[in-house]
């Protein structure tokens, strides 16, 4: 039995409306780092929220350690797509709020020292008393990372955590996240729209075919030694092959999507929906 399992999951937001996710099957083993790549609007956030317990599947089941997911849990830490820091709290207060909930029995001093450790880990100690609006996008995202990790979740779920950052900051934070994940071998699920990020960080990459009725595509295994080195990776033939395969696959679904948009109405028999289901 896998650590996290999604069996035939369907999700509709509006009753009787179109399915956003359709027949999703996914299983993640303990300690694995899995990346899901997909276009914007394909249903990635929806998928993440089904796993972290903010949403319930319309049909099918989501199992975490063999138990159906009911609501959120401290075992599954979440890094949201848009940071979601509370703007009226300082960096320290934002992290402290999470830590307090995760470790209700610890004393105030212990909690504060945990907060200090994690804020230090994301290199924000100088900004610990600042409020989110005084921070850059990269710094905010670091706070969000610290907040999620300080709760010491067994599984980290990240929804495009680095999407809004510049390339340099992005690289930095990728390494920080990998570091933490490697340290106590937690399970990680990363949602991203950047194939290179997926390849650099994950053990497996699974494309999400664009919705409505989004389904998961075939998985791509990344057999690269860790720790990985970005410059070395570029010369690795197996890396090149995987990267090309994934990009080709994504371009194909991209073209399909375009074709779908361009399909003239008088040719309904070309509607690609029917063969989307077969892939």
């Amino acid at each position: 039995m896998a650590y996290l399992e999604l069996n035939n999951v369907h999700k509709t937001y509006i009753e009787g409306g179109e399915e956003v996710l359709s027949n999703i099957n996914l299983s993640i083993e303990e300690g694995e780092f899995v990346a899901i790549v997909g276009f914007t609007g394909s249903g990635k956030t929806t998928l993440v929220n089904l796993i972290n317990g903010l949403l319930e599947p319309t049909r099918g089941e989501v199992l975490f350690k063999g138990q159906p997911v009911v609501g959120t849990s401290h075992e599954r830490g979440v890094i949201f797509q848009n940071y979601s820091l509370l703007p009226w709290l300082t960096v320290e207060q934002n992290v402290l709020m999470a830590v307090k909930e995760a470790f209700p029995k610890k004393s105030k001093a212990e909690l504060k020292s945990i907060v200090a450790d994690y804020v230090d880990m994301v290199k924000l100690t100088p900004a610990i008393n600042k409020r989110p609006k005084e921070l850059s996008g990269g710094m905010r995202q670091r706070v969000a990372v610290a907040r999620a990790l300080a709760m010491k979740p067994e599984m980290i779920i990240m929804d495009e955590p680095l999407g809004a950052l510049d390339a340099l900051t992005r690289g930095d934070l990728q390494d920080e996240i990998l570091n933490i994940w490697g340290k106590d071998k937690r399970t990680a699920l990363l949602i991203t729209n950047d194939v290179d990020e997926g390849i650099y960080m994950a053990d497996r990459i699974i494309p999400l075919r664009p919705g409505p009725k989004a389904t998961l595509g075939p998985e791509f295994k990344i057999d690269l030694e860790r720790p990985r080195d970005k410059t070395e990776m570029n010369d690795n033939p197996s890396y090149k092959k995987t990267r090309n395969a994934i990009i080709e696959y994504l371009m194909d679904i991209g073209n399909e999507r375009k074709a779908e948009a361009l399909t003239p109405i008088e040719l309904p028999d070309l509607a690609p929906k029917s063969f989307v289901g077969q892939l």
Binding site: N52, T72, S84, W88, M97, R131
Partner: protein
């Protein structure tokens, strides 16, 4: 140096940014780019005030002439040429018994303002003397368990302003303590919202006069045994009930429209209800709550005048009404003084709220 920075900050905070521009002018720190801003922020308002006073003065003069001509003509028609000449002479002499009574000029209003202050000086001196005179006697009376003798003389203009402020603050606090908690509950629960919606929609537009009458009916019965003057109680409750609706509606709206992201954070962290309300929902609705409170305070101040008048509760409202009834030759000027005092205090109250809002809330709101 440090102090000047603080002044700039504080005045900007209170929406009185022009103060720092004015200060820069005197300290000679004004740069050329600032000059246009200075013109706009200082010279333009001053010019418009002067223009306003000018128009007012001319208007008052024109009205005065209309009234004077009417008086002279009336004397001519009723009592002949001699009486008319006498009337004209009397008016020209400035004798207060025959002055035309119309819109007072700015100068007359300023004169009344000074005379009201003088009057206040006299009354306070009177009060102090009374206190001194009765100090020994009152100490004895208190020792014997009797009520001390209190000053029962006429209140001064300043006393009335203070009394009005007390009424409005009591009313405002009542509104705050009813509307904010109720608004939170309504915002949190769709059921309560459905239950209260008709209630809010019906009572929100009810006029201050009707609120006063309603409160009067109830309080009069409740305090039937008490010999104390209930006008203060009645007026502050009416003010509170009249003005609380904006806060109620805004609080409910703020609480029910908290950003979905923050709610998701609360869920993922598994915050308890108490934490969720106080750490997430309330801070996020604070700007809207304050917008409501600001409206409440200005409505409270506005309806206060009418309610004091109805309740015969001492204060600016009663002052205006009594002066109007009084019809003395400086009554009109006193009414205009009261109008300005009411307006200026209303403005200051608004700025005070803005100051409090900016010091407790994470979003800074600019003055209009």
């Amino acid at each position: 140096m440090k102090q000047s920075i603080t002044l700039g900050k504080v005045s900007k905070f209170m929406g009185l940014g022009f103060l720092s521009t004015l200060k820069n002018l005197f300290t000679g720190k004004l740069s050329k780019e600032d000059f246009r801003a200075f013109l706009r922020k200082t010279i333009v308002p001053i010019a418009s005030i002067l223009l306003f006073l000018g128009i007012w003065h001319m208007g008052a003069k024109a009205l005065y002439n209309v009234e004077a001509d009417f008086k002279i003509n009336k004397a001519l028609e009723e009592r002949g040429q001699a009486a008319a000449d006498e009337e004209a002479a009397c008016i020209a002499s400035g004798d207060s018994t025959c002055q035309p009574n119309s819109l007072p000029s700015p100068a007359q209003v300023w004169g009344s303002f000074k005379s009201l202050l003088r009057d206040h000086g006299i009354i306070s001196a009177d009060k102090a003397a009374f206190k001194e005179k009765t100090a020994a006697l009152n100490a004895k009376r208190v020792a014997k368990g009797e009520e001390p003798i209190v000053y029962t003389g006429r209140p001064s203009f300043v006393d009335q302003i203070i009394r009005s402020l007390k009424t409005v603050f009591a009313g405002f606090l009542l509104a705050l303590f009813i509307a904010v908690p109720l608004g939170i509950f309504i915002g949190l629960s769709p059921t309560l919202k459905a239950a209260f919606n008709w209630f809010i929609q019906i009572f929100k537009p009810v006029s201050p006069v009707v609120w006063y009458l309603l409160v009067f009916m109830i309080v009069k019965t409740l305090l039937i045994d008490s010999s104390e003057d209930s006008s203060f109680t009645i007026s502050f409750i009416s003010v509170g009930l009249c003005s609380m609706w904006a806060t109620l509606v805004n609080t409910a709206m703020g609480v029910s429209s908290v950003d979905k992201d923050y709610i998701n954070v609360a869920k993922v962290l598994k915050l308890g209800t108490f934490q969720k309300i106080f750490k997430v929902i309330l801070p996020s609705s604070l700007p809207l709550i304050f917008t409501g409170l600001k409206i409440t305070l200005s409505v409270a101040w506005m309806v206060l005048i009418a309610i004091e008048l109805l309740a015969q509760s001492p204060g600016l409202g009663l002052f205006v009404w009594e002066e109007f009834q009084n019809g003395a030759n400086d009554s009109n000027a006193k009414i205009i003084v009261a109008m300005f005092v009411i307006g200026i205090i209303g403005f200051l109250l608004d700025r005070l709220m803005l100051f409090i809002q900016n010091s407790v809330s994470f979003v800074k709101t600019d003055a209009i």
